[in-house]
Symmetry: C2
Subunit: 459 residues, 2 copies
């Protein structure tokens, strides 16, 4: 929403791309009423147009892409969801795509080209002016998910010995400045950063003041190879708005700004959420078949977990035949273990991601989780023990399920934290593999304990 | 990490609060070696000290708070996790706490005071200078989680008819400017914002240029009552770095900067993750008993879900007695339904939070999820049907489990999206209640379908 100054209405909603607008655009496209569709989308800026494209169905989306192609806004590309961007990009010939990339900031250009498929990437690079091509190729030479990929090459670096007046005069004369920037970097003659100066520091000082006297010499320097997770941690912890990026020789080669990091923070938390839910990535806009294939793998792994649990149960067929109440009650033990373990697991996975769970406090937290699991296990053992006793008028069944419950919840608490810690230690992403391992443990042990104790005590 | 310019080492890690440091500080505190502890923590800035406090055990934490109290850094307060901040605040008398709050920016001051308990809040407010007290009380008069609570009152607003020279001279003379700021707001005589000007725009223009000629008149104005989720959406969508906050009469009363919004974005994604995992909030630093109590509620609700599923099973005791293989296989149907539903649910909850799932595309997405569930259901029905057939040498059992599987996965796909959509429609947070509702459905229907079909077909 960019409210024109004349019509400021604080009650107006922030969501410009309303269901109503989406419906109207879809109708206009279906009726081939291009003029009406154009009128409807005219007020939209790139991020809003991106939302609209994402919200439309596949057919309407294709029509809209065709409609906007003649005066294509390059800023649309970095705003789009991956799946939808692929559709847009597929409709643009390499020449038009290269022209769009040329208009983007260097970080966005690297991002958009980096997401293209091999052949298309080559074709677009060939169409780019030499200067752009070299810049994009250099950007792509850094590993994905590192500072090198996220950084912007456009920055303002000035000699530290300059004065405020020098700086302001220079910037007034310079046409090649980044469109917006928050900080100025001060460098020594070898182009090593020696300090930063927020623009607000520049404008509040007199012209004669030396930059080196008002700069902040406590630099937070980012090596070009830094992983984006570390970067996000750094920005959050230090409340940074931008940070200089240096090459292995310590020379200033780029800048990372907070808006790039917002995207990383966003992605990371979403990543953990999706992985814990058993989905590779947010597949809202994916086609049905692609979604189905992506989810199949996870379900397939889980099938074998479930079959394993069934194998455990089948060891006790004779017992179940004698006391069928066991079949009725057994899912309770497994399910409570699974739920208790998932609680611990969720906290642990997030704490690992935010670097709050470290070797320094791991032992203490494991111990705490075992205690929590054990205490809650005791409570639920008492509750379910009494329910089972009353239900089947058999105190012994109540005792067996109580024993199984407290043990399984204790083990669930321990595994809920030990599994992600262990996976993290051996370099496997705990968000991906923890849930299935945990469920296997709580199901297998839950069924085994309950049916095993029943066989031992009741038969 | 603030690498001094002299010792820049790009390979140095960003994690200053290493396990080693935490261990050394804990040892020094245990040995009552205050001098050593002081030396160890001297290089730490507020965010790092906050991390250290959070990482220590309760005893060491108490000792460290005692140690830092004499020269307490107010910036520590907004950096701390809630649980740990409560411990710190409990050790500070109201006078010292008020002195610390006085040093903070207005948004941090409102936040810290707002998090205090009623009695303590009153005591601190009484100790604050009148001007601060009024500002904090006014901040607290806005609803929690709205722009009013997040905004900072310190801002730079200038008359739109001024020139670049006027602005720079004014800022050079003004001592009461915010410490750092990115944008200048231009206002009309009634203090209504009419445009913004990034500082980079100010420094690149000549002194004689009128601010109204270079300002950006497309203002994104935030009403003081705007919910922080909408705010986060707005900042992300428009790539804003700051936005003016206006009162109901449209007058400029504050500014929200991107660093406040980063915290909101962070919290939100974490909130959804935690709620889906069945935890109220990140309770890593909570005491064992408090954690236990907080998790008990969720487990208690789930217990009744599990008991309900058991009630369904108990309706088929006679069938299970005859064919005990059913007891062996039945958890597979329920578990696969639960996993497939959770995949859909995770995507849906996240898409609702980011406003990507709206009434405009809901029907299409529901249909897609039913298809995905149905197709995958068919595949897994075939696989599990053959497994069961081979395992128990009974094609009929294979047929029954296949039928139950495809039906339950189809229902799981539908419920995985319909439940969060429905909850959202009636104003209940889908992240909190969706999982338990979904599991109830997939368990109850899974057991009912499998055992019911078996009774009907096999008996």
């Amino acid at each position: 929403m960019t409210i024109p100054a004349a019509s400021q209405d604080p009650e107006e909603t922030v969501y410009v791309v309303t269901p109503q607008l989406i419906g109207e655009v879809a109708d206009a496209l279906r009726d081939r009423d291009d003029a009406r569709a154009r009128t409807l989308i005219r007020p939209l800026e790139a991020p809003e147009l991106a939302d609209l494209l994402e919200a439309l169905g596949p057919d309407a989306r294709g029509d809209l892409i065709r409609l906007i192609r003649p005066d294509f806004d390059p800023e649309l590309l970095p705003e789009l969801d991956e799946t939808v961007r692929d559709e847009v990009v597929a409709q643009l010939p390499p020449g038009e795509l290269a022209a769009a990339v040329h208009e983007l900031d260097s970080d966005d250009a690297v991002y958009v080209v980096g997401e293209l498929e091999e052949g298309q990437r080559r074709a677009v690079l060939d169409e780019l002016p030499a200067e752009d091509r070299i810049a994009v190729e250099q950007g792509l030479s850094y590993l994905e998910y590192t500072a090198g990929r996220l950084m912007q090459r456009e920055l303002v670096a000035l000699p530290a010995f300059w004065t405020v007046g020098n700086a302001i005069d220079h910037m007034r004369g310079e046409s090649d400045l980044p469109e917006e920037f928050y900080d100025i970097f001060l460098v020594d003659p070898r182009n090593h950063p020696v300090g930063t100066l927020a623009l607000s520091g520049l404008v509040r000082n007199r012209r004669g003041v030396r930059l080196s006297d008002i700069m902040d010499p406590d630099l937070t320097v980012v090596p070009v190879t830094m992983d984006q997770e570390e970067l996000a941690f750094l920005f959050r912890q230090q409340d940074l708005t931008s940070a200089p990026v240096v090459d292995p020789d310590g020379r200033l080669i780029g800048v990372i700004t907070i808006d790039d990091v917002v995207d990383v923070i966003d992605e990371e938390a979403e990543d953990d959420l999706m992985k814990l839910g058993g989905v590779n990535e947010d597949d809202l806009y994916r086609a049905t078949m692609a979604t189905m294939r992506a989810r199949f793998t996870w379900l397939f792994v889980n099938l074998w977990t479930a079959v394993l649990a069934s194998l455990v149960i089948s060891q006790f067929e004779a017992t179940i035949e004698k006391i069928v109440a066991l079949a009725v009650l057994m899912p309770i033990v497994a399910s409570m273990g699974g739920n208790a373990g998932t609680q611990t697991l969720t906290v642990a996975v997030r704490a690992l991601a935010t670097h709050e769970l470290t070797p320094a406090n791991a032992l203490r937290i494991v111990w705490k989780e075992v205690l929590v699991g054990g205490f809650n296990g005791l409570l639920f053992a008492a509750i379910i023990g009494m329910i089972a006793w009353a239900w089947f008028s058999a105190p012994a069944i109540g005792g067996v399920i109580a024993l199984a419950m407290v043990s399984n919840m204790l083990i669930a608490g321990f595994c809920g934290i030990a599994i992600p810690l262990g996976l993290d230690r051996i370099g496997i992403d705990p968000a991906v593999a923890s849930t299935v391992l945990l469920t296997t443990v709580t199901d297998v042990i839950g069924f085994f304990l309950f049916l095993g104790l029943a066989t031992w005590i009741l038969i």
